[in-house]
Symmetry: C2
Subunit: 517 residues, 2 copies
């Protein structure tokens, strides 16, 4: 335990985990991956050493002169930010990746249009995108809301996805990944001090972008707990409870939904979405619907329903009034092109004057990266039946999503066979979020070290197996329960090996701390 | 004046100007450009109409139900944001653009490595960048601070630029354009309420990202005025005055410098920089040095000195203590690749614990776009003497910068020949910021319309000539003085035509409002 204790003394532990966490899980597996860093252990250790070296350099520097910016004078909202995870990974399929990259490469270096080795489909798409770009170049700024023809393609995609529910392209705004859109909308909503502070309702467990943004903006985090005993479903009674409790000390103004859920993987039923929207309507809440995993649904009895479509089907009284923003991204789905930082948001029923203010705010950041906008276009505008890539593209899409479904099932099954681990079905998204039993002695030991029990567990797992998962405490969980998040992205063979190691580790951990050794 | 009055009644005017402003100046000229929108007048009108239509739609919607998010409930910090300009433009040279785009295209679609039509230089660079990327792909997330080998290339570039002053790559952070870095650093610094609020010293005139960020973060904008009578130089006595005055009501903690200046184009002397750094040292101010125009220096008696190099030359007492962040970008220089949203910041003497907090904040945004990181690498790592593109690259670089120098001179000369316009030499950056005389009758008329006099002037210029420039009031100016900002980017022939139109308009405007008609 010596190393663990010395590690625990340093504040960068969470950060180190963040940097390599789910990414390295794939890296470990050796599949063609989108990860970073050499190996988990190396990654972790390197960062610890670096942190230590820097801290000691800092002490030397500190002798010279008082800093203007120190931990004491740092914006306290920054200190309050917690961010347990550094971004999910990515699955690849040759043709899908190739197609997207072809189009983006053609846009980046248009001389390639003359090359016979690029398919006509890809050239047609690239030409269309470039025609919409200033100077016909990805090197130009676009309008702040994004390239017009891409906004139109996205609106067409949404209409098709939602079986004809109208989508106005002027309501579509390109973003730098979904995160940027979420931050922008929260910034519009958050205001007020003390008792009039803005309450932001978020699910627990949640993707920590939300808690981080809420801390940074000094809003009030209003937790509603997902029901672990019911496959992490959202329970409308819990929403009411959470809202009423929050009203005592803040002004709840917005409800955030993640569907399919991250880290929980649940897929909301249509009935559940109706209840949420009705609740938002009644309580005058602004709705933010994070739908970045809309293509990642695996459970046969589940289906993705967009909040917008359900709102439409509830009738004009709802559809013309509930303020709703939904988010999507290039980083997930079956492409996983996260490095492009592409994304969009569709904004419904926003006050036109507020929309003008939002465009102003977006314009301060000039525009989202053009390559990300182009990647978003390719994703919402996949090969059509008359195009020669159509068949292969759709075969690969099915194969990628089919494999993910299989891995989701496999992960659930193997984990549930381990005593002291309970894993809900992974209905969608890219993660399992199993509950783990941590013996009281381990809980005590963690407390003595000043860390969360699941952090202790995950650090031990990392040290002993090289497997890096993110502790549940970074996402939020009911008091006294412990979890970790792991991706289901490695290949089936690797996943089996990996889950076997998790099982062996867990059994050993239980033994060690239950005094059974 | 009817149309003008009706326009003035709408709040979106500034926004409309922002959207098309300097961009359309180039678009007008018909050069190979990086702009958007069809023509100035069309652009302006379309937006006005849209705004009106939306406002009326809003009134209809408003009848149905009260919005959660209205102008009344909007975060007041968002309302306070002003942003007079939507991004500068761009100059292009065939080979330089080609080279950058080749490398980025190779990174985007690595199969092109096999293509004989790409030069070996470009392939070598692309391979190196991809080796640093997770999964050897631009489609992956990178580490939040950016790809390691790109950070190293940037550090090497800085060392070379600063003639050997050491640069540690771990102090270099990739950003989404320079704007993102500036916002991140300000967010660390801004905290406190009421009398302990953070004062942020900025030049007036300034690039409105600064005032917008300060509003959004609820910091106190502390103005120091550049000396128009002395080529917009920074006067150290004015810094002292501004600082002392600010101390009465806030806590000035940071000084922002733009060198070369935007919109003013001045290039700071070494002596001036020493004075600023000494002042920052004495008053314990954090220094933010916006050096995005470091390659854009035209005046023969001027030279770019980086704040870091000057700090180094002031000796270890300064170099080891003053907290300095400098910013650079892919969007300016001789490449102008703004659509990639590439940029970096170098952070000196930051408290290591604060740096860890900053990395946490950066990690919430996951990572800057990979294509922008790759573009930044190409810019800091231009062709070397042994590479076949070296000669042509450097010829073009000289030619682009030489043409800009000629246009800077030409703009100054033509404007100064107009009665009632006075233009300082454009020593650097990409803009002229001439002072314009506005007759008292026009000032009165503008006030009656509830708009700034230079806004009235610029709107009239737009209506009568189709030329779109940004009013000085968007950048800040001394009370009672009026200016506009225009780019010097159009070709010489077009610039002459354009400046001729400005002259004719100005003379007519003076006549009309001086009762000389």
């Amino acid at each position: 335990m010596y190393r663990l204790q010395s590690l625990a003394a340093r504040s960068l532990i969470a950060g180190a985990l963040d940097q390599c966490s789910p990414l390295t899980l794939t890296s470990l597996t050796g599949v063609r991956h989108k990860s970073q860093g050499p190996s988990v252990e190396k990654c972790g250790q390197m960062r610890f050493i670096t942190a230590e070296a820097k801290a000691s350099a800092g002490r030397l520097e500190g002798k010279l002169r008082e800093k203007t910016l120190t931990l004491d004078t740092l914006n306290p909202q920054v200190k309050a930010v917690e961010y347990a995870v550094r971004g999910p990974i990515v699955i690849k399929a040759g043709e899908i990746e190739r197609y997207l990259e072809e189009v983006v490469a053609l846009c980046t270096f248009p001389e390639l249009m003359d090359s016979p080795s690029f398919p006509e489909d890809a050239k047609r798409r690239a030409r269309r995108i470039l025609q919409g770009c200033g100077g016909h170049s990805l090197g130009s700024y676009s309008a702040s809301p994004g390239v017009e023809c891409i906004r139109k393609d996205i609106a067409a995609y949404i209409e098709q996805r939602d079986e004809g529910v109208p989508s106005d392209w002027e309501n579509v705004y390109l973003t730098t990944g979904a995160s940027d859109g979420i931050m922008t909308i929260l910034r519009l909503l958050v205001s007020g001090k003390d008792s009039s502070r803005t309450g932001v309702m978020i699910p627990i467990p949640q993707y920590p972008l939300y808690s981080a943004a809420i801390s940074e903006m000094d809003a009030v985090q209003v937790n509603y707990y997902l029901d672990e005993d019911n496959c992490w479903a959202l329970d409308i009674n819990e929403l009411h409870r959470s809202y009423q409790a929050a009203k005592q000390h803040c002004q709840p103004r917005v409800i955030c939904i993640i569907n399919p859920g991250n880290p929980t993987g649940q897929v909301q039923s249509k009935k559940c979405i109706e209840e949420v929207l009705h609740f938002a309507y009644e309580e005058n809440l602004f709705v933010m619907s994070d739908e970045v995993y809309q293509d990642n649904v695996y459970a046969p009895d589940c289906q993705f329903h967009s909040f917008k479509k359900v709102l439409y089907e509830m009738g004009p009284e709802y559809f013309n009034s509930v303020e709703l923003v939904s988010f999507h991204s290039t980083s997930k789905g079956y492409t996983g092109e996260c490095g492009f930082r592409g994304g969009y948001m569709e904004v419904i029923n926003m006050d036109p004057e507020v929309k003008a203010q939002m465009v102003k705010l977006l314009s301060v950041r000039l525009c989202p990266p053009l390559a990300g906008q182009a990647a978003m276009d390719v994703i919402v505008n996949p090969p059509q039946p008359e195009e020669h890539t159509f068949k292969q593209f759709h075969q690969e899409k099915s194969s990628v999503l089919g494999a993910l479904a299989e891995k989701a099932k496999l992960t659930e099954k193997i984990l549930n066979a381990v005593p002291g681990i309970k894993c809900n079905p992974v209905q969608g998204a890219m993660y399992a979020f199993p509950r783990i039993f941590i013996p009281p002695k381990a809980v005590e030991e963690a407390k003595a070290l000043g860390m969360q029990p699941d952090m202790l567990y995950c650090l031990r797992l990392l040290e002993e197996t090289g497997i890096c998962v993110v502790p549940g405490s970074g996402f939020g969980q009911k008091d006294g329960t412990y979890h970790f998040r792991m991706t289901i992205l490695p290949s089936i063979e690797k996943l089996k090996v990996l889950l076997g190691k998790v099982r062996d580790f867990h059994i050993g951990f239980l033994k060690e701390y239950s005094g059974l050794e």
